[in-house]
Symmetry: D3
Subunit: 257 residues, 6 copies
């Protein structure tokens, strides 16, 4: 069930059955010479929508815009400030909490979103912490990036090994190739330098330099990723894995409290 394709009466009826929702988050940023600028939003949205249709789950509208200032020297990247993403998440959750939603499962497609997302959710809990003790329903959050799903993680290591890299990864590109065959671009040469351990350690969570430095370091936009290894067939397998892992993960979240 998708919120955008429902009527308000249908959502009202859904709330009698469940108080949970899956919210996809993406980013609009360069993904190297053959990756789509919308990759992060497209992947998270597609996985969430298929979780919804196969798992009797409600999926909300995608938050397409993410925090990716380091990619602003590549044309087409649209990066929002952390405070902007936080404002958007805040209003999204406040609106749904007013209707009675309680369990918010964020299905994330971009590493740089996690800090601001967690920050916003702390402030949402703070608001509710100052209110009166009692009456008010409690709300809960869960954060999951789709590449962390165990089957997905196994597959992407198997398919690409250390060619997976950090950005414009073959796994995310493969997923978009499976989803949008009409938008598959020619593969770039496979000559990407592997990242050093110290680079990986320091830059985890998209902790990158400013845009000018970042483009100097990674002139075609790939960050240690052999994007050219991606195939639509792998994309389908990754997508299927993400959907079944995702349904499990969401259900386990619902049952956990």
């Amino acid at each position: 069930m998708e919120l955008i394709f429902s009527t308000w009466n249908e959502v009202e009826a859904y709330l009698d059955r469940s108080k949970g929702i899956v919210i996809p988050l993406g980013s609009i940023e360069q993904h190297g010479p053959n990756g789509l600028i919308g990759t992060d939003a497209l992947c998270a949205e597609a996985i969430a929508r298929r979780m919804a249709s196969e798992g009797e789950i409600l999926v909300g509208p995608t938050i397409s815009f993410g925090v990716a200032p380091f990619n602003l020297a590549f044309p087409g990247t649209i990066s929002v400030r952390s405070t902007t993403l936080m404002a958007l998440v805040t209003d999204y959750v406040r609106s749904l909490a007013k209707h009675g939603f309680e369990h918010f499962y964020f299905l994330n497609g971009h590493g740089g979103n996690l800090g601001p997302l967690r920050a916003a959710c702390q402030d949402l809990q703070a608001e509710r912490s100052y209110g009166e003790d009692g009456g008010q329903r409690s709300i809960r959050f869960f954060f999951r990036s789709w590449w962390e799903f165990p089957t997905v993680d196994t597959l992407r290591r198997e398919f690409y090994d250390d060619g997976e890299g950090m950005h414009a990864t073959p796994s995310e590109i493969a997923v978009t190739q499976a989803l949008f065959p009409e938008h598959v671009k020619a593969a770039p040469p496979t000559n990407v330098a592997r990242l050093s351990t110290s680079y990986l350690r320091e830059h985890a969570g998209d902790n990158h330099a400013d845009a000018h430095q970042h483009r100097q370091h990674f002139p075609d936009g790939r960050v240690g990723s052999e994007s050219g290894l991606a195939t639509p067939q792998q994309g389908l397998m990754l997508l299927d894995a993400a959907i079944s892992d995702g349904i499990c993960d969401y259900k386990s979240f619902l049952e956990s409290f």
Copy 2:
């Protein structure tokens, strides 16, 4: 050409040909008993995408979230604060202006967005007004709600007369029926009270009461609109009209300065 389906190299090449972009804006809010919650975003996005494919125009990712607090008493509505929408528009424009974009055509699908959108654009011009005189490229904005297109306006009056109303209009519902036949819902009874002149006058631009009052006034969510009159065939005609009017309007904007 759609930004989300492009690579950064393709956007770089596009910027040699044009500095313009079409940006769809919507809202996630109840649209009465048979309207989809995503109606405003879906309509604006669909029109913009088809303008893009038929008119050699670049369309950016949709800003799906709009300002609709008056609908917050209907489950499923997600309303953002004006300041949130303004932050999002600001970051969107700043990012693209950094890449060299100059002409921003906002294709709007929700009346309540126009105030905040104009407010954000004034502040963007203010930022640039404090900078040094010279060097910097000027940027321009244009705001258009799709139902203002002349052919669309003629058609909707012709199809629905005063049953068009203010919200959950048969015209927008017809467009979503044409776009998503699998999501056509049963039509509600056609007994909607027509709006008084003083109501229309005072509430233009979604100048509505708070959510509780608004739901009391319009218990099923329609605001003077005979949503049940919508048909997919009319939707197709409205869509075609919007696309050709839209292409003209955008080109005229590009040439106007």
Copy 3:
């Protein structure tokens, strides 16, 4: 009755008779070679005050500062950010709503204010929409720029035809001449280029370029307006028209809900 010349006891007594108030908004910006920098604030304030004295209406203090970044390259212009105007409108309304005011009629004197004003009012309704259903009194807003009053509009077309233009219009200058004969300045040459249809269409609502561009386009500050046509006599007629139209319009707002 003017709020600034009343005591709190008088306001308390007024609230037993009415919950409405008229709030003038202006701008502090250049108005061409013979227009006063305070024109927008002075006109809105004068009309509102005379509505008050002739119509048993309460008028609040003027919000003199408006959003006019495009005029920042002309010395003397003071432009506030949209977010600043919104904060001011928010606090103004919150204060009065706490006292029991319910009907807010904004009498506007500057086009660039309308977007931020509407944005602020949506956020005020949003605040109230998250509160508990019930008890709380509803508040309503109405927005009117004085040149929209029907008699005023007829007169200004009659007096100045297409010399009325967009900024530093002879009508607003005539009103200030009627109000402040001691500040009438020498008329500039009447040689202003008429605005093209595409200019008018694109720049409606003060959707102008940044300050540097704007001054380059309109070197003496007039935007298609033959300011030199203004006379104090016309100003008096416009003022009288505005006052009687305004009283009607406000009363119709009070009765409309």
Copy 4:
């Protein structure tokens, strides 16, 4: 010379002679049973305007709205948040600094404004401190509440002794009586309790309780002030003193750097 009654060309010419400006600040708040709600704004504005006309000084438009939350339980009070006043002061100064103004003399009419005013000016200096060393012109601020002027201070002690009190003081009421004889209200009984030393010590600078407490403590709005002692004649004397002290003080500020 008053900014609102000038043209931009006149301001441009003024900037060749001086880079200084006087900015009046007020408040819109209850002033007891016979004080006008606009008292603080009216006094500061009148003194500044007469300084302007008698001293070849430029006066900017009045910031009428002040920070007075403690008076929100008295109908008619409009209090802005500190952050709102700071935003307004920031935009006011930024606009004028862009035109070349350097010396900002704030003529204050309300104690509660001083904290936010100083806070805003620190942040304005901070902005400029991060910029490049060199080129940029330095700006300076000065803060003066009109009752601190030495002759004014002597007169008000002489006229009212400890009946001057803290709020709705006879001195400010006398000034409004001199300015607006048509708005003189009947004097209340002179039975106001004098404030204890510990009260004066703790509440200096309008450091008051919340609105509910404040009204409980001071049910008719006077804070230790015998407002009924005010006469228009005293008002004239206070006004004259303020104007000549003010001109001196401003000139000494201009010369001091």
Copy 5:
């Protein structure tokens, strides 16, 4: 009793005995050639902690960061925006007020903090003023810079006369010498120009120029202060005076309401 060295159960028990707390504020900024960058935070914290241990008073954690943009051209200075300090004070007070604290005594160590501190406290009172009348406990604030304590003030005039100056004063440096003998630095030459009356008058409350100007005016960071006169022995005397004056002052605040 120090909050940071207490358990929550101990704070709960304290609240049965008292609702008051002392909150030290400092600044991290250059203090001339022999002053420590942490001087303001170190002095306020030390005085507050000794007030706590000798006076059965609870002291909260120090707000070390202050508003000192004028010192940003001296390496090591960390200045926060006024709005940042205000946010911090707001959250600090809101947290403690939730636990039942009512009496907030700010022991300040840096002049530039007072404006923002007062501004934040007004907004805290504003929040509470919009709430419902009744139930809610009232909160009170008191602001004291330690050098205002009468015995301290007498001593510093006696020790240093007009060599005390405005910044990097011998009195504050003497206090840090008494506290941290291992960090006493060599005294600079005693040749500091005394400040003119007009300078003192205009710059009271750290109303300084931007950082570039400020460093040009005061190249070694001392503002009229003969820092070299400081001795640890004087520091001990100043510290003792501050502690006994402080305990009195705080108790008088608690009893005053």
Copy 6:
């Protein structure tokens, strides 16, 4: 070398040798029946200071205040909003970057800080990404919570096994016992329920409920932690491990780019 105990000349000299700094972050929140409210700030500060003294490293002033709204139902907790912590981190970094610092190593003592900290650092990079390409020095961030240091992690598992838990851990309490023997509190009974896998999974990174729920779930404030196992001797060993791991980790960060 500690910034607060240095003069500006000493910092200037340091910048010739290094552009790096260690910044401790803590939190002021309940730590169960025998943990100190300042635990997180005290641990991070002590480790950073000893890294400084043993490793020729500069340590900045501690950011004591963290994001811990879930603990607001326990008296003494002071939680700041994410946006407040972000503002503080922003100003801290901007100030130091102005002086020439480039390498910012955050030594964190509280899980809930990491989201906001990362969010702030993205926005700092965004600011710099919009500037001109070239000239500007790049800045880098690194985030490390002290309990992640490998030797520390081994020791705490060895000492406490699954009694380490999530909050008010015996390891952090042991460190404060080693640092402040005068503040060791009586150990509570060792009967804390171990946390389920689903709890640990969902609540990683302090993703807790609102304050009311949180206290209901964990009535004495310990979250699965056998705080009573802590001893000062273990604290010393943990501290020593943290310091040597920390010096390595920081040096590796400096060399990594």
